[in-house]
């Protein structure tokens, strides 16, 4: 392993999936530094398993599952660092980049403020609830896709989704973000 041909083969296999994996890393880790660490660690481990990867029919799904398992295995590390980084204001909603814009700076500013409140509300959810609601309601994963990715039965996913939405609604009503 490590030959130039391996690098070329590896890049050809993973490049089509990088954007989706990067988004997944964000949704799992919740902040820039941890998302980048998770993304990087996935690629390193994937490269170590290049011989397996070339044989896999759907490398995108496989890579997503490996990333999810990696996050779960090192949840304590990521969770601890995420709490620290929240204080530094590095969560997703801290910038307008990536936010669907309008022609009105005032409307954008209000929306950004709402997103900041959403950040704070999401940070109060458990990882299990936060991940499910972000995958389903933000990234558009179907329930069956979440089951395939996480190994959690659809019934449990539905239940977590319902509770996560209810909790977000409760928090956002209480802080005046929605009414």
């Amino acid at each position: 392993m490590g030959a130039p041909n391996d690098s070329i083969a590896f890049e050809r296999l993973v490049r089509p999936h990088l954007d989706r994996l990067h988004r997944l890393a964000w949704r799992l880790a919740g902040s820039k530094a941890e998302a980048e660490d998770l993304f990087q660690e996935l690629l390193i481990r994937a490269y170590q398993k290049l011989d397996d990867l070339v044989e896999i029919e759907e490398p995108g799904s496989w890579l997503s599952r490996v990333m999810y398992n990696l996050f779960i295995d090192e949840r304590r590390r990521f969770a601890r660092r995420r709490v620290h980084l929240v204080e530094e204001g590095q969560l997703a909603g801290e910038g307008l980049q990536g936010l669907a814009g309008s022609d009105s700076p005032v409307a954008d500013s209000e929306r950004l403020e709402q997103i900041r409140h959403l950040d704070a509300a999401l940070a109060q959810l458990s990882d299990d609830h936060r991940i499910v609601v972000l995958l389903h309601d933000t990234e558009g994963y179907k329930l069956a896709e979440i089951e395939e990715l996480t190994g959690i039965p659809v019934g449990t996913v539905k239940s977590r989704l319902h509770r996560a939405r209810a909790r977000l609604r409760e928090i956002l009503v209480a802080d005046g973000t929605i009414s």
């Binding site: 392993m1 490590g2 391996d6 690098s7 590896f10 890049e11 993973v14 490049r15 990088l18 954007d19 990067h22 988004r23 964000w26 949704r27 820039k32 980048e36 993304f39 990087q40 690629l43 390193i44 481990r45 994937a46 490269y47 170590q48 290049l50 011989d51 398992n69 295995d73 997703a92 909603g93 910038g95 307008l96 980049q97 990536g98 936010l99 669907a100 929306r111 709402q114 997103i115 959403l118 609601v133 972000l134 309601d137 933000t138 939405r165 977000l168 609604r169 956002l172 009503v173 973000t177 929605i178 009414s179």
Partner: protein, 178 residues
């Protein structure tokens, strides 16, 4: 609270979630990550072997095999029998066991494949039955620490298959779950 209020609020939550951004990667981040993956991935495979003596082993050393001349002359160790070393691990509790290979000579670019029995996993490789490393063995004792996790109480036989050039040998370790 009325249902209409709750529905309206839920719609607002869903709209916010739909707009929740995931910033694009920084310029060149993917390129840097790919380069690092190939370098670090190769390095980790080389470093997977920890070349230490018996005295440095902190976990239970459960199996030691002589390679050297045996590797050159015999294609296989004897099949399963009384000589097979064993270890007992507890269900769902990771335990590090050290496989010690004593080699009479340096072996560059050897390939080691660990095949796990059903219900036994290698920590960090969930769900995988077979894990392969490329490695080099130094003259003397080479220690390979493996952290095993029993996910079912069945146990079985772990196989460590070592290949170097056109020679290979398979080593066996009995894993019991108690």
């Amino acid at each position: 609270m009325q249902n209409s209020d709750a529905n309206k609020q839920e719609q607002q939550v869903l709209e916010l979630l739909r707009d929740y951004p995931a910033p694009a990667a920084d310029a060149d981040f993917y390129e840097r990550a790919l380069v690092r993956a190939t370098h670090e991935g190769s390095k980790r495979q080389r470093n997977r072997w920890m070349l230490t003596g018996f005295g440095a082993a902190v976990a239970a050393t459960v199996a030691a095999w002589m390679i050297g001349g045996l590797l050159l002359n015999e294609p296989q160790l004897p099949e399963a029998g009384a000589a097979i070393p064993g270890v007992t691990i507890a269900l769902a509790e990771p335990r590090t066991v050290n496989l010690v290979f004593a080699s009479a000579t340096t072996l560059d670019s050897a390939t080691l494949t660990v095949t796990l029995p059903d219900g036994i996993e290698l920590d960090g490789f969930p769900g995988q039955r077979e894990i392969t490393w490329e490695t080099s063995l130094s003259e003397g004792r080479n220690l390979l620490p493996l952290t095993l996790v029993a996910v079912t109480p069945t146990g079985g036989e772990l196989l460590a298959h070592l290949e170097h050039e056109e020679r290979d040998r398979t080593f066996r370790l009995r894993v019991e779950v108690g």
